[in-house]
Subunit: 276 residues, 3 copies
C-alpha cells in the first residue's frame, strides 16, 4: 500500500487533475491553496449556468454544504448529475449534517439524486446521515461518541450505498465489506478551519487518478496525515496560524516516501459485517 | 478586572461556546480561524432555511454586513429574532455603515427588528448609525475625526439603546452610563483585513460565557489587544502577512495573565452623561 | 520608467485610493490583504442596491468573474456603468474565460456594456475573449500555447478596444499600438490561488493614481514581480504557504527602489501592428 500511495502521488502531480469544488465560503481559499500545493488544479464554479459544463470536464467533483443555500444545493445536484453522466467521481462533505435539519435533509437529497463515490465526514455528521442520533455542536463535532468509528462507517456505507470515510483521531474508509484504517495526523488540524473540507477535496484529487475509491481515499488519508505530522514539526509549537502555513508547505513537500510504513492497515470485517 | 478577564478566558476555553456568524465573504476564513485559535467553536450559516435553528442553539450570534445582500439582511433578521427568543446574545458589526446608504439603512433596520446586545464599529461607522456625519472612505475609516470616542460611544448607546463599542487607537465600550476604556493593540491590526470583524466575533465568544455585555466586551477588547501586542513582537517587523499568522498563534497562546494590569480603566461619566 | 514607478508607488501610499472589488469568493481575503499591504484601501461590495454608490466614490473598480453568478454579473454591469459615468477606471479579470461558455459570454457582455480601461488575464483567457481557441483547464491555464503573448495582446487590444495585459512568464501590456513588456516574478506565484486576481486589483490601485493605463499597469506589473522575487528569497524554499505570507510582507515592504532597472522595456511594434 505504501508503494501504491507513492505512485498515486506521482500520478496526481503528473496529471494535475482538475478538481471542481462547490464548497463553502469559509474554506474556498484554503481548499484552493491546498489543492495547488498538493499538485492538483482546483476550480470553484457555483452558477447553475455553468456547473454542468465544468463538472463534466473535471477529474472529480467535490460537493460541500458548509454554507449551503437553496441555490447551492441546486447547483450541487445539477453538477452531480452531469458528473455522473460523464463518469466523473463525485465526493460529498456533509458539513454540519445534524446541526440543523436543513443540512441533514440537503445532504440526503444530494445522496438520493446523485451517485456519490465517497462521503467523508466526522463521526457525528456520518451518524446523522444514517439516522443515528449523536451529539453535535455546530459544524465542529468531536468523535461522535465513544464507539470506534469502524462500525459506524460500515453501517453508513451499507445504508447509503457508497464508500464512507469517517475521520477523526483515526480514520476509516470502507465500502461496507472492506476498507482501510489510517493512523496519523496531528491534533492541530482541528484548530484550522476547513481541514476536513480540504481533506475531502484532496480525496477528490486522488479519486481523479485512481478509480478505486478505497485505494484513492486511503492514499489521500495517509498523505494528509503525513503532511500534518510534518507541519507540526515545522511549526514547532508556535500555534495554529503557523501550523496552517506549514501544512500548505508540507502538502507541496510530500514525496513518495512521506507515508509511514505502518500508517494504513486493511480493515478486517467479520462475516456478519461486524468489525473485529 | 484583570483577574476577571483571566477567569472569563478560562471559562470560554472550557465551555467552547458555539458562535454563529453571519458574516461577509472577505473575512469568513480569518474569523473562523481566529475563533478556533481562541478556543471557541465557530459556525457560519446563512440560509433562511436554517439560520433560526442554528442561532437558537448558539452561545452568541454575530451579524456582520460587510458584503450584505438582500438575502443576507433577511437571514440576519430571521436569525436575530430566533436568538432573541432563545435568550442568545446578538452582536452587530455595521461594516462600512455610512459608506453607502444601503449599509446604513440595513444596519438601522437590523437594530430596529432585533434586540442587539453589543454594536461594535469604528468611530465613523458608529457616528453614521446615530445620524452624525463623519468622513468615511469605503469600509476602512480612520478615527472618525478628532474627538475622543467616549462621547460618541455614550451618545450612540443612548440613541441606539444598546451597548456600543467604538474601537480604534483606544477602545471604548459603554451602555451610556458606565463602561470601560481599553488601551493596547498594535497598528498592524489595521493592515489585516477582518481584524475588526474578528474582534466583534471574539466579543461574541465572551458574551456567550458572561451575560454582562460590558464585562464580556471589556475582556474581549483587553485580550485582543494583548494578542496583537504579542503578535507584533513575534512577527518582528516582517510585515502584515507574518503579523496575521502570528496573531492567530497569539490568540491560541493567550493565558489568564496575558492582559496587562493597566489595560482597562472604568469609564467615568459626569452626571449629565458627559465623560470627564 | 523606473523612477516613475517609484513615484507612482509613493503617490499610491499617500492617497490610499479606495479600490472597489467585485470579486470571487476564493480570493476576497487575499485580495483585501494584498491591497492593504500595498497601501491601498480595499472595499468589497456586491449588492445591486449599493454597488453604484460605492463604485462612483472609488478610485478604481475591479470586476472579477471567478465565481460568477447571474446576480454578480448584474452587479458588475451596474457598478461598471456608474464608474463610467463618474470617470472611475474599470478593470476586468475574466477568470476562466473559455473554461465554460458562461464565463466567456459573461466577460464579453461586461465588455460590451461597460467601458473597461484594462483587461488582465493569462494567455488562454485573453485568447478566448478574442474568439481564438486555446486549450484551457479550469481557471488555471498555462501560457496558452507556444506563441509569445505580444501578438496575442496586440490583437486582443485591437479587437476589444481596451488596454490588454497578458501575464505569464513574461507580461505584456498594450493598447494595440504601444505598451510595455515586463520581466520578473517567481513561479511560486502560480501556486498561490488568487495571485492573478490580486494582480488585477493592484493594477486597479495604480490606475486610481495614474490615468494612463499603460503606465499604471506597467508600474503594477513591475512592482508585483519585484515583490514576488523578494518573497521567494524570504520564504527560502519552504513552500507555497510560506511564500504567500512572505508575498504579503513584500508588498508592504516595496519601496521606490524595488523595481529592477531593466524589468520594463517598451514594446516596439512594427507599422502593421506586428511586434518585432
Amino acid at each position: 500500500m505504501r508503494k501504491e500511495t507513492g505512485e498515486l502521488l506521482e500520478r496526481l502531480r503528473s496529471e494535475r487533475p482538475l478538481v471542481h469544488n462547490i464548497t463553502n465560503t469559509v474554506v474556498t481559499n484554503f481548499t484552493a491553496n491546498g489543492l495547488l500545493a498538493l499538485g492538483a488544479s482546483p476550480v470553484m464554479a457555483y452558477a447553475r449556468e455553468e456547473v454542468a459544463d465544468m463538472a463534466k470536464v473535471a477529474g472529480a467533483l467535490v460537493l460541500n454544504i458548509g454554507t449551503l443555500t437553496a441555490e447551492l444545493v441546486e447547483a450541487c445536484i445539477i453538477a452531480g448529475k452531469a458528473a455522473n453522466e460523464a463518469g466523473v467521481p463525485v465526493l460529498l462533505d456533509p458539513v454540519g449534517a445534524g446541526a440543523t435539519p436543513y443540512r441533514t435533509e440537503s445532504s440526503l437529497r444530494i445522496l438520493r439524486e446523485v451517485k456519490v463515490a465517497i462521503v467523508r465526514g466526522n463521526a457525528a455528521e456520518i451518524a446523522h446521515l444514517t439516522g443515528e442520533i449523536r451529539e453535535i455542536k455546530g459544524v465542529d463535532a468531536g468523535d461522535g461518541g465513544g464507539e470506534a468509528p469502524v462500525e459506524l462507517a460500515v453501517r453508513a456505507a451499507a445504508k447509503l450505498g457508497t464508500v464512507v470515510a469517517v475521520t477523526g483521531r483515526e480514520d476509516v474508509i470502507t465500502d461496507g465489506t472492506k476498507g482501510f484504517v489510517v493512523a496519523g495526523g496531528d491534533e492541530l488540524l482541528a484548530r484550522v478551519t476547513g481541514a476536513g473540507c480540504l481533506l475531502t477535496s484532496v480525496m477528490g484529487a486522488f479519486a481523479a487518478v485512481e478509480r478505486d475509491p478505497l485505494r484513492a481515499g486511503a492514499a489521500a488519508l495517509t498523505l494528509y496525515g503525513a503532511a500534518a505530522e510534518a507541519a507540526a514539526v515545522q511549526a514547532g509549537g508556535r500555534g495554529p496560524g503557523s501550523f496552517q502555513i506549514a501544512f500548505l508547505d508540507a502538502l507541496a513537500g510530500l514525496s513518495a516516501n512521506s507515508a509511514g510504513a505502518d500508517a494504513v492497515r486493511p480493515l478486517e470485517l467479520a462475516a456478519g459485517g461486524g468489525a473485529r
